[in-house]
Amino acid sequence: MARREIVLTYGEEQTAFKFTRVDRSKLYGRKERVILDEDGERCVPAYLTHDGAALVPPGGTAHIYVDEAFDTVERSDLKAVDDEGEPLEPYASTLGEPQPLTPVDPARVLDCLVTSVYELAAEELGAALKKSLDDGDLFESVYNYREGYDPDVLFLLKNDEGIFALVAKETGFEFLTREAPEADDEDEDEVDELDDDLDFSMM
């Protein structure tokens, strides 16, 4: 089970945390939009192709990679490269692997977008780390749930409720000057977080 723990080092101390994801449904419950037919039977969403030839029910799609000739490339054959085309080595999962903690200023958290919140529980919290957290210190570490190429940032903090980890990604927001008012409309990598935002678990 050690593999499932977040292990952090502070000075000479090492602390292993079990973690539980904090999500809205566990805190507040949730709201669901249910579609019923005329007989009161529950219905499911599906895709209708533009030519009307196919109805694709849930589970009816597959995600594949294709080359320039539209031939399928197996995932196991894919190679990850950087912007210059140089091969990249994946980062291993950090679960179960000790990661050093670095103290950070609270404003550092504002530079990142939180993707997950974990409630942490340590069998034995290191004395120095406990004191620092009690004093209100905030820490940063590297976090990678599974092997991959883009590790996340993990913030460790304590509040009145307990000890938590915030898993986050850099926003990359830059300072804007008078000369550069335009956002890049052509950027295909842009993620509009509010587009197609149909979360019905409202406050």
């Binding site: 709201k31 219905c43 030839a53 990679y65 504002l110 300072f175 990598d189």
Partner: protein, 241 residues
Amino acid sequence: MPRLISIMDAKKRDAQIEVDSPKKKERHRYVDPAGNPVQHQRVIKGTEKTTYEALVAEAGDPDALAQALIDGDPELDLDQVGRRLAHTSRVYLGPAGNVLYVARILKVVYDAKGEEQSREDFVDVEATVGEELPPIPWTGRLMPIDTVIRRFAFVRKLQLRHVNGLTFDFLYEIAEALQKENKLMLVGAGKKGQSPLIFQTNGTPFRGFLEGRVQDGGYRLVLHLSNLEIKRVTEDEEEAG
């Protein structure tokens, strides 16, 4: 694509400006074994004719379907499988796989234990922030950064961007004022800024915290959005894991 919203400053002046989400920045891309670029595609794997229910109905019963699967490939809709899925319309299918033309939409509420609490007809919740909607008011409710980041998880962020020279000055001044205070300003919709920020019909309601920084003649004004408090979800006696 950036969208427009209106916001008010401390002098009660409002202006229409752009908001932009974080760019997805991945340090890697995939290539094939020869180093040539590859594209991710979503394709059709099955259709309404190849669901389990449809196949059982076609075969007569599950045993007959099992035999049909041994004898052939009824689960493959060869006219459609492998087609690239693009430009689709959203429809709803009934239990028999039929397209729904008349629907009743319900809102079902569950508590934190997953138990149903109520169900009623769904009513659209309109956006509270947008191009044609009143500005986000200046509340003046400042909170220390250290307090806020320990209480709320910022799960969405929007950068406020100027659209011309006038709005550059407008936003720069807001950012400068907030930096001087070194605090975040709690913002919301409505006249007093007490309503949740909702950016599109039936969108997620958020609480907003405005952060401003200035540097070398530039500014960075970010609206941090949260719908999640940083709270325990396990019982005291329960072990996390």
